[in-house]
Symmetry: C2
Subunit: 153 residues, 2 copies
DNA sequence: CGGATATACATGCATTTGCATCTATCGCCG
DNA sequence: CGGCGATAGATGCAAATGCATGTATATCCG
């Protein structure tokens, strides 16, 4: 793309992060503007999606919060709204009196699947023409590694 | 990381995007919580940063909007706030009566550099232990390619 | 040229967000 | 056991956000 001379670790790290960030912004913009997200915001879908992937069906609010880029209070209120819309169900955690467990309702699961199908196709339409399968696998590997390392304090 | 069987292109694309997205969230969380972003939000810093990288010094509002994950109206107001704080300067575009040009003020440039120094060190502290230099270069290449392909309609 | 359509940015308004703080429960340690 | 700091989540409130729309300018096309 550009001629890039030997760089300091600091500069390389900064450029890598910036590129990752901008790529995320570019893709996100496209996805958000698609028809899939008229009835529900992407953040909200993300909650439904995360819940759908949860083996037990139930997820703690604070665990959910780790996945979502929202403050604790904002997530609390967002879940409140989703509950009002009948998409998720709350229940006090049995083993922790402070905690709240979340689960998709039938309607929430339905909506997640419906949006999910479109969403996944939108993603594929963006990724496949942009990167080869091998490149995607490598990008997947690198971002998993990065996330793992960053998450692990 | 996990055993991953041969996957359909759709599934691969979806997993790659999800991983990219979650990695971005994980890194972003860490960066936002750092001490560098007490005086200014990350989005706001991003504006200052983008302006600082602009060769002519002046940038159109709509071009800026392409880089930032914000609606047009929100950006408009954010710039208004930055102007009130004395960090950026506005000027009507000479060649387009509808447009507005933006530039960092001296104070804005100062602040950008000051935050930037800390920010860049924070980034390095996250990236370098997570990925080798070669991996970072590859991640940089892949995200640039992705962004390029997505941006180009 | 002139009217129609598109683009750039601003603004009113309802919704969403985050910070600070509050309440309740948990876990630890004397 | 009992007190105390830590953690989970809720809430008041000011600020930020996005949608719809408004205004002005630009561009296209007959």
């Amino acid at each position: 793309m550009a001629d890039r001379p030997a760089e300091s670790p600091v500069r390389l790290a900064a450029e890598t992060w910036e590129s990752l960030f901008r790529a995320q912004v570019a893709v996100m913009r496209r996805l958000q503007s698609g028809p899939a997200f008229k009835s529900i915001a992407l953040n909200e879908y993300d909650v439904l999606f995360t819940l759908s992937r949860c083996p037990s069906g139930w997820l703690r609010l604070n665990e959910l919060n780790d996945h979502i880029l929202l403050s604790q209070s904002s997530l609390s209120r967002m879940v409140e709204r989703l509950e009002k819309r009948g998409l998720v169900e709350r229940m006090p955690a049995p083993d922790d009196g402070r905690g709240v467990l979340l689960k998709l309702t039938e309607a929430g699961s339905e909506l997640q699947k419906q949006i999910g199908r479109i969403h996944v196709r939108d993603i594929e339409a963006l990724m496949t023409p942009s990167l080869t399968a091998a490149e995607q696998r490598e990008l997947l590997r690198l971002t998993e590694k990065l996330r793992g390392a960053v998450a692990r304090h």
